[in-house]
């Protein structure tokens, strides 16, 4: 996995609370058996009208937002299903991080495993970000803070292990496999 230390971008603001995984990627795209090819499915039913035409009103379709990689979303982003296709699709659509006031547990875990950075900040800087779409900001994993064009940076919490893995491109499966002796010992103690 690529190492992620700092993400700099202008923001795209999707000011909707409780954006669920069925909006991030509708279930009909989950019949795939590979990780790739889901970029076009991201927010599909908001991005495209019923006739398959791009919906010009949807925020990610606006020309100025096409190359932006930080999404600012409403509270409780990513609620719903466990589909890891959600961060896969967002990454392939060019997004690298989401900033919200809360992020659903399974979506957050899935994101961290794929180098999509979930950032939870306080209400006040979040309100500022929502009011200033296109702000040029930086998410700094070293300093665990979001740097804004004005005012103090917004700190965020990130599990130390997850942060280490993101910053060093560590694959967590390798870490788990190295625990194999302890896992075997546990299994023996537990009687199988």
């Amino acid at each position: 996995m690529d190492k992620i230390v700092r993400i700099e971008s202008r923001t795209v603001v999707l000011d909707i609370d409780n954006v669920d995984t069925d909006q991030i990627i509708p279930a009909r795209f989950l019949t795939t058996t590979v990780r790739k090819g889901l970029g076009d499915a991201a927010f599909h039913d908001w991005r495209y009208a019923g006739d398959g035409e791009l919906n010009p009103d949807f925020v990610l379709n606006r020309p100025e937002n096409r190359d932006r990689s930080i999404l600012v979303a409403g509270d409780n982003f990513g609620c719903g299903s466990s589909r890891e296709h959600a961060p896969w699709a967002l990454l392939e659509a060019g997004l690298r991080a989401v900033i919200s006031t809360s992020i659903a547990d399974i979506f957050r875990n899935n994101s961290l495993k794929n180098g999509f950075v979930p950032v939870v900040i306080d209400d006040e800087p979040h309100r500022w970000l929502k009011a200033n779409p296109g702000a040029e900001i930086a998410i700094d994993l070293e300093k665990t803070r979001v740097e804004l064009p004005e005012g103090p940076p917004a700190p965020f919490e990130l599990d130390r292990f997850a942060r280490y893995c993101l910053m060093n491109g560590v694959d967590q499966l390798g870490y788990l496999l190295r625990q194999s002796d302890r896992i075997s010992a546990w299994e023996q103690r537990a009687g199988g």
Partner: protein, 468 residues
Amino acid sequence: MSGKTLLAKIWDAHEVVPETPDTPAVLYIDLHLVHEVTTPQAFDVLRANGLPVRRPDRTLATMDHSTPTEPASTLEELDRVALPAAAAQVRAMIENCAEFGVELRGLDSPERGIVHVVGPEQGATWPGHTVVCGDSHTSTHGAFGALAFGIGTTEVGHVLATQCLLQRRPGALAVNVSGRLGPGVTSKDLILAIIRKLGVGGGTGRVLQYRGETVRELTMEQRMTMCNMSIEAGARAGMIAPDDTTYEWLHGRPMAPAGADWDAALERWRELEDRGDAQFEREVSLDAGRLRPMVTYGTNPGMSAQIDEPVPGSGDPAIDKALAYMGVEPGKPLQGRDVDIVFLGSCTNSRLSDLRSAAELMRGNRVADNVRMLVVPGSQIVKREAEAEGLHEIFLSAGAEWREAGCSMCIGMNGDTVGAGKLCVSTSNRNFEGRQGPGARTVLASPLTAAASAIRGRVADPRELMDR
């Protein structure tokens, strides 16, 4: 072990490596449920790294999301009735399970069905177990006093390869329920009321433990319905401490302990019972005695009301957007709204007791002319048991469709979809925009409310039909 929550008891017993500020716990997983949607990319990772499945004996595999609900017990039949992409996913599952030595309850298996129906049905889910699956409704298994939660595909790969997960311990929130559920009011209505109270993000980072006299009186199937929807409050898991109801349900099932092992297991399980002395991070209370049947009116499971209660008026942009999507009039009760489709099924409400209660209401009645009703049993075993009781004849003679087991119209992956702009009263768990197919409008409700709505052709209070 006084003072410990059920979560803490199970967690402590499964820590292979305890957590530290720098590293999460390595948590051992007793039971890994797998299905066709969230596993192919995980099997690919094993293949790419030359890794075997560490414990095929702790891996229970079936197929549910992409499988057709038209009969298809062979690949030839599958190709005839299934969507091509869905059929390809089913084939990939068959090949992966064969390659990695995982027993699959596949197309021709009499035990195939929705993974969260099959696990408990087989007696695979035990009190004190850790249970995971690449599916958020894994919380269902918490009904047995297990710690059961949904994971993503990367973590599915972790469990396949190591039988462990890297996890931080969540918080524990007690939901104390008192009062007796009235006639026509079910545990589905209760959990919808709890989600409304907590909000769809209210459980984030926490495990819910349902307690109190009301919960103790629920059957296992009713408890599964409750725990199933814990994720809809954002919770990591939902759980209910085991008791005699749990043990009676498990006893004699194919994968439950037997003989001397049963006695030893029972002794361990009794240690997990609720003695009322556990300390929770937070507690909320709810009086179930005053509940009426619940229905959702909006586009997340927290947007619900009692059936005769007016939905919110306009003003809040999120509510306005939801009501506009749903085609629901602000400030009026949902009761009486025309219905196009009724779906009885899903991992929430497709077990034998769900089908029985709906059939009871439908006996001698017809599905209204404007309504299409789909009844999808949770497993092939549920299907056969229902048929042995003649339930299918009640549904069929009422004009409903009687299908093969699967997730079906809850998620629409197999092509069973509602249709744009159509309103579906559904016993499933999610009413997100497009959840049941593009443009579909979902009203979540109990099997009783679904049956009543099918008969009346509009959103209807089941108590009207019960009082006849």
